[in-house]
Amino acid sequence: MNADHLVLEFAGWFQCRLATNPDPTDEPRGVSGHTFALPGEPDLDRVIRFQEPVAPRSHGPRVAVEVGAVSRGGESLSDHPLLRASVDLLDGPKFESRNLLLTDDRAGVGLIHPFHLEVKVPGLVVRRRDLVDPDAPDQELHRVAPELLNRRAPVDLNGMIMDPERIAEVTGITDGLEFRARRREALETDLAGARDPVVRAALEKRIRDLRITHPRDLRLISLQATQTRRFALNGPVEIHDAAGRLEPVDADRDWPIGFWMGGWDSDSLCGYVKGRLAIALSGG
């Protein structure tokens, strides 16, 4: 990437409380798939959260996506104001596939919609939307042409890519069975001391699920699988920078973004995201 782009590398765990096949997309509690709303938790809402998880589960990862590195023209900027900025997706984004009605992604995950990215530190906020159909930005998704939807779908439409090395590098999870076994042991310890019947019911459900060890079960497969997305943010830009700390950005050019999501932990309803955003700068 050349000097007319500010490159932000971001990573972290996200949460998504969603139902999975063969449950309906809008199944509120989870029944037949491998994800569930536990006793005492609110309904599944499908929202992808990069910050502020809802009903975070014990022993799960810390949900927070942030900027880990900033560079320009290949040169690292170790004191850039956006280093360690929180990265968030606004407006309640969801994975939208609807049993392959919307995209051709055979894994059935689909596109993330809406896509409204925010990068924020105190006193400095950068936001940009991506518009699926710039000519009809408020159009309901099922009426948008498939080629426009597929632009935001995973780059490999044939399904998830097994990439255990990549997952291990960022999460430390090298053995899915062992990872789940350790989680189960921690929950069994918690169960031994739990008295509240609702808490006990939730722990018992998690423990039962963590006992599933079939190698072809999606709980294990998706722990080491990834999907990559690449497109360019094309919508309106919003900058709040009272102190003028950010370089002048070019809101007329698209901002390329690429990221992978994977390492799906069905027990905590969390996955990992890692990628980079290239903010076009004005004046070169």
């Binding site: 309906p24 997309t25 569930f36 006793p39 005492g40 919307l102």
Partner: protein, 428 residues
């Protein structure tokens, strides 16, 4: 039913009966599953009890999926001997079916009594069950007939190989969703299919994985929880055998006529989707001139979207809607009245137009229902409104997607749909 199967006609008659048995079974299990509560706010259940209810619903849906598998295998058998699949069945309540009680096989809410009847039906698959009229006896008769006709050098296996459905043609990986549908082309395949149907039905021991064992465990768990808490009620107050006055059908004796106008419309929406799904499955089983892309398009609508995005959620929505105009309980349920003649459409282009028109009409009806549910103040209406809205979006999406799959003009599809919606007073 003849004592012996001596001809292809005898065989087809027996296979059609078997198809009706499997079809009725899956409807009963789906209905019972849809009647189950999801949250303590629905009353008479706690969070720990709801966790058990979720497990029971999962078991019922698994068994229902496997009955769909059985129906698929029976239709493969019909195809293998050169005949069309059979998706017809009597309305509910049905008369005597193999393995069922003497009369009145019903669509009924989840309860200990219903589970006892389900277990009895599944036990009738057992080899030891030699009672005339048992499911086991029916399939033994079919297998004996297949073996006899095959041994008689009878030109039995004449169906085209492509008129078979399998996990592969449905794009379901092996072992996923607990179903295994495979092609049937010769006697050896038929033996495996019949054995699979009987094997998953029987095994009534508590530890067994067959349907009788699984449903028996649900029954034991239910009795235990009700013994611990006599106030516990896991299912919604759903009427038995709900019916609408649908085209071509009269309310069956013993049926509960739905009278709440919104509920009747929702039930007819369900039936419209159900009937269309069966028509599409008929076409999927009898490929004619369609291209691989068109056949894939049928699959992409009939299997997951219609089943998972429409029928299951709409079935659950119905169990929250009042059955009558006079009071909010009892509530309704899916009536499984197809409302259309279940025959193969022989001409491809006409079939595509028919299915597309059906999807558009469902979208229009879905939009009307969304608007009218949105106007209601009652708790049940507020509770179902988000799912009804999602349904409408998905009906529209299916209509547009199907047009694309079969190479119709998608822009024209949307224009026509918008005209229908505008004619109904809905702006899009």
């Amino acid at each position: 039913m003849p004592r012996e199967i001596e001809s292809r006609v005898d065989l087809v008659r027996a296979l059609a009966r078997a198809a009706e048995v499997e079809h009725a079974a899956l409807c009963r299990y789906l209905f019972a599953a849809a009647s189950l509560k999801k949250r303590p706010e629905e009353g008479a259940c706690t969070w720990p009890q709801i966790e058990s209810v979720r497990a029971w619903q999962s078991s019922l849906l698994l068994v229902a999926r496997q009955e769909m598998e059985h129906l698929g295998l029976v239709c493969n058998l019909l195809s293998a001997v050169g005949c069309a699949p059979h998706f017809g069945r009597s309305g509910f309540p049905m008369g005597a079916v193999p393995g069922g009680p003497g009369t009145g096989v019903a669509l009924e809410r989840f309860s200990a009594g219903a589970l006892e009847r389900f277990v009895a039906f599944e036990r009738s698959h057992e080899p030891a069950s030699r009672a005339e009229g048992s499911v086991g006896a029916l399939y033994r008769q079919i297998l004996t007939g297949l073996e006899a006709l095959d041994a008689a050098a009878f030109d039995l296996w004449v169906g085209p190989p492509r008129a078979q459905v399998s996990n592969e043609t449905m794009d379901i990986p092996a072992g996923w969703y607990d179903i295994d549908v495979f092609p049937i082309r010769r006697l050896a395949d038929a033996r495996v299919a019949v054995h699979r149907i009987l094997e998953t039905g029987q095994e009534g021991e508590p530890e067994a994985s067959g349907h009788a064992g699984r449903l028996g465990r649900v029954l034991s768990d239910l009795r235990r929880l009700q013994h611990e808490d006599s106030a516990f009620e896991p299912s919604r107050p759903v009427v038995t055998n709900p019916v609408t006055t649908s085209a071509g059908l009269e309310p069956a004796a013993g049926g509960a006529l739905l009278t709440h106008p919104l509920t009747v419309r929702a039930a007819r929406l369900f039936n419209g989707a159900y009937g269309l799904m069966l028509l599409m499955l008929l076409r999927f089983y009898t490929p004619n001139e369609e291209t691989p892309e068109e056949r894939d398009g049928l699959r992409r609508i009939a299997f997951f979207p219609l089943m998972t995005l429409v029928m299951r959620p709409l079935g659950e929505i119905l169990t929250q809607m009042p059955a009558s105009s006079d009071e909010e309980t009892p509530t309704a349920g899916p009536t499984f009245e197809p409302g259309v003649p279940l025959v193969v459409q022989p001409y491809k282009r006409s079939a595509w137009l028919l299915y597309h028109e059906c999807l558009q009409r469902l979208a229009v009806e879905g939009a009307r229902l969304e608007e009218d549910v949105g106007r209601r103040d009652e708790g049940w209406a507020r509770s179902i409104a988000p799912r009804v809205r999602f349904l409408r979006q998905n009906f529209e999406g299916m209509a547009v997607a199907f047009a694309r799959y079969v190479d119709m003009d998608t822009v024209r599809s949307m224009v026509l749909m918008d005209k229908l919606l505008a004619g109904d007073g809905h702006e899009r």
